[in-house]
């Protein structure tokens, strides 16, 4: 079984050639320790930048961070997925899954923020947004 994040990252890896052809770069950020990010990149065979935001400092600046409720901490502990061992801190904080398309001048052209982690922005929407940024 492949959890939601891995499914999403693999789907984005699949459109990496189109992203590059549109002159853009793809970057994924999670609060995982670098070693865990490496494991994710290797497992999902990702060739784009996978960055470690330990402490969620970048995610916080984007307004995406929330603390996981106690019942869900217990569920992750019982699944051998306790976040302190993965993220390197005891905060149990996560980013709400979000995908941005950022124009070269730093302006956000597309923002997809969804608290239901089972839903992710589709690859077609990313490519459409990138095409809209192309000089005509």
């Amino acid at each position: 079984v492949v959890p939601y994040c891995n499914i999403q990252l693999r789907a984005y890896q699949a459109i990496l050639p189109q992203i590059a052809a549109l002159g853009a770069r793809l970057v994924a950020i999670s609060p995982q320790l670098p070693e865990q990010s490496l494991a994710t990149a290797q497992t999902d065979e990702l060739t784009f930048d996978v960055l470690s935001d330990v402490g969620n400092h970048a995610a916080r600046r984007f307004g995406l961070v929330y603390p996981l409720p106690e019942e869900l901490r217990a569920a992750l502990r019982s699944n051998n997925k306790a976040l302190p061992g993965i993220n390197g801190d005891d905060s149990w904080e996560l980013p709400v899954p979000a995908t941005y398309v950022i124009a070269q001048d730093g302006r956000i052209a597309l923002a997809y923020i969804e608290v239901d982690y089972r839903k992710r922005l589709g690859p077609d929407a990313i490519l459409d947004a990138l095409r809209s940024l192309q000089p005509s």
């Binding site: 789907a11 770069r25 307004g63 869900l72 061992g85 993965i86 302006r107 597309l110 982690y117």
Partner: protein
Amino acid sequence: MGLDQQLADFKAEFLRTAPAGRAALYEAKIEELRAGFALEAAVAVEARAPDFRLPDVRGNPVSLTDLLGRGPVVLTFYRGGWSPTAISSCEPTRRSCRR
């Protein structure tokens, strides 16, 4: 198969195999988060993206400013891969772990 279908298939498989009560708990917590999360405070369309400088998997720093120097950027925040093989060799109290 498209991303939406893959996500839906995984969700269906989870609902079929999850321990009793787990699916209802996750559903309730998603709705709790939807009610409590300050979506209006999150960075949105037309805003300027905050800069960051973070290490990649080899420890090399990558900043948004550098990336934007070469073109548009697709940036995705994900929760984690939560790879069980990697986790099993990690001590919770340590800052980093060896694989």
